[in-house]
């Protein structure tokens, strides 16, 4: 790993360590094949900043077999379902989790907490042959 701390005042961000976890998952599934795109699904209630994740991925992947791969983020809005009246609604930008139809505070989050690697896109495997061959792009 490369030194990632530029200065004393830089706020550490958990996106860096999350990229470490992503690299492990990608490495296991890629099994040595070159990867071009890592598709990641992030719910709104996850405090993961997509741009920061993309930037941190450049830091973490550089100098590894995943150099040059990029993260593509699919954002999922948060949705609540009221247990009292079954009303469903997006949470929206203002984080109010009470039901907007009946006012009940007994609701459940039905979307927005996702944080997963959904798929990988491999780099040009048909061009380079059936299996991995050469370093790829």
């Amino acid at each position: 790993m490369r030194a990632g701390r530029d200065s004393g005042y830089a706020q550490p961000v958990h996106e860096l360590s999350l990229c470490g976890s992503i690299a492990q998952i990608v490495g296991r599934h890629a099994a040595g094949r070159p990867v071009s795109v890592i598709n990641v699904r992030i719910g709104q209630l996850r405090q993961v900043v997509p741009d920061t994740l993309v930037y941190c991925w450049e830091l973490v992947s550089e100098g590894t077999s995943l150099t040059g791969s990029r993260i593509c983020v699919e954002a999922v809005p948060a949705r609540m379902r009221c247990r009292a009246c079954r009303h469903e609604a997006e949470v929206g930008d203002l984080p109010v989790f009470a039901c907007r139809a009946c006012g009940s505070i007994d609701g459940e989050v039905i979307a927005g907490e996702e944080f997963l690697v959904t798929s990988l896109e491999l780099a040009d495997s048909a061009v380079t042959g059936e299996t991995t061959e050469g370093a790829g792009a």
Binding site: M1, G4, R5, A10, Q11, P12, V13, H14, L16, S17, L18, G20, S21, I22, Q24, I25, V26, H29, A30, A31, R33, S36, V40, L45, R46, Q47, V48, L59, V60, L94, P95, V96, F97, A98, I105, D106, F115, L116, V117, T118, S119, L120, E121, L122, A123, D124, S125, A126, V127, T128
Partner: protein
């Protein structure tokens, strides 16, 4: 399964229409669908089992920097250490300053400096807490208090194997904080409102804060304290004792029939 597109690792590949033509020639997709917190959560579950095996209740204490976690812990040790055997896991980015402030009260303390991580970590995760457990000697403890790194964002995302989550919020932080950091406020079983001795000087809108808190976490318990004067700290200690009792119920073996 995946008869025509199976590779050595057994993954399947779905090719969408058009994948085999144009600029996307040869791009193959590998389905993954793996949760990024899986590894952390597995180790958190292992930590939880270790706590349970030793009859220990663990509480994860979070806050922004300067909200008063360490002062509250000092007052907690002053009141509870001894009759309750307490261990503290102290997360700090660079220093042992907080751990030093907690020395001398009869608690076991394990310091985790998170600054060694790549870029410096802004939170404790399950592997870090797991690595501190052997240093605490769980067999001789009843309660482990985990003082997380001061930060209102990252610690909320990481399960470390705790039984309950509490956060310390200081009234100097402003009434709007639950709306700005809803994930942290939603993740807590208890919000300790600290520095209430400053209420006469701040024009703090307690009702407004509580309304904001209820909007994001209707179920959270609330205790008002001043860790500095000691006001309300006994109520917090009672909350901890109730968590100890909960954990004891969970961990006691089922009565054997006959």
């Amino acid at each position: 399964m995946g008869r025509f597109h199976r590779h050595d690792d057994g993954t399947e590949h779905s090719h969408g229409p058009g994948d085999h033509s144009g600029y996307e020639t040869g791009r193959e997709r590998v389905e993954v669908l793996e949760r990024i917190f899986d590894e952390n959560d597995k180790i958190a579950a292992a930590n939880r089992e270790k706590f349970a095996a030793s009859g220990v209740c663990a509480v994860n204490l979070m806050s922004s920097p300067g909200a008063g976690k360490t002062t509250l812990l000092r007052e907690t040790l002053r009141r509870m250490a001894g009759p309750v055997r307490i261990g503290i896991i102290e997360g700090d980015i660079e220093t042992s300053l907080d751990a030093d402030r907690l020395a001398g009260f009869g608690a076991e303390i394990a310091l985790i400096n998170t600054g060694n991580g790549f870029g410096g970590e802004c939170h404790l995760d399950a592997p870090m807490v797991g690595s501190a457990l052997p240093r605490l000697g769980l067999a001789d403890l009843d309660l482990v208090l985990i003082e997380n790194v001061g930060n209102l964002v990252c610690p909320a995302e990481f399960d470390v194997g705790e039984h309950a989550r509490a956060m310390v919020y200081a009234i100097t932080e402003g009434e709007e904080k639950p709306l700005k950091y809803p994930v942290m406020f939603r993740s807590c079983d208890l919000v300790v409102i600290n520095k209430v001795d400053l209420l006469p000087y701040l024009g703090f809108d307690m009702d407004g804060f509580l309304a904001n808190l209820r909007a994001v976490n209707p179920a959270a318990a609330v205790i008002q304290v001043s860790a500095r004067t000691g006001d309300g700290v006994d109520a917090w200690c009672d909350w901890l004792r109730a968590r100890l009792a909960d954990a004891a119920v969970l961990q006691s073996p089922l009565p054997s029939p006959g």
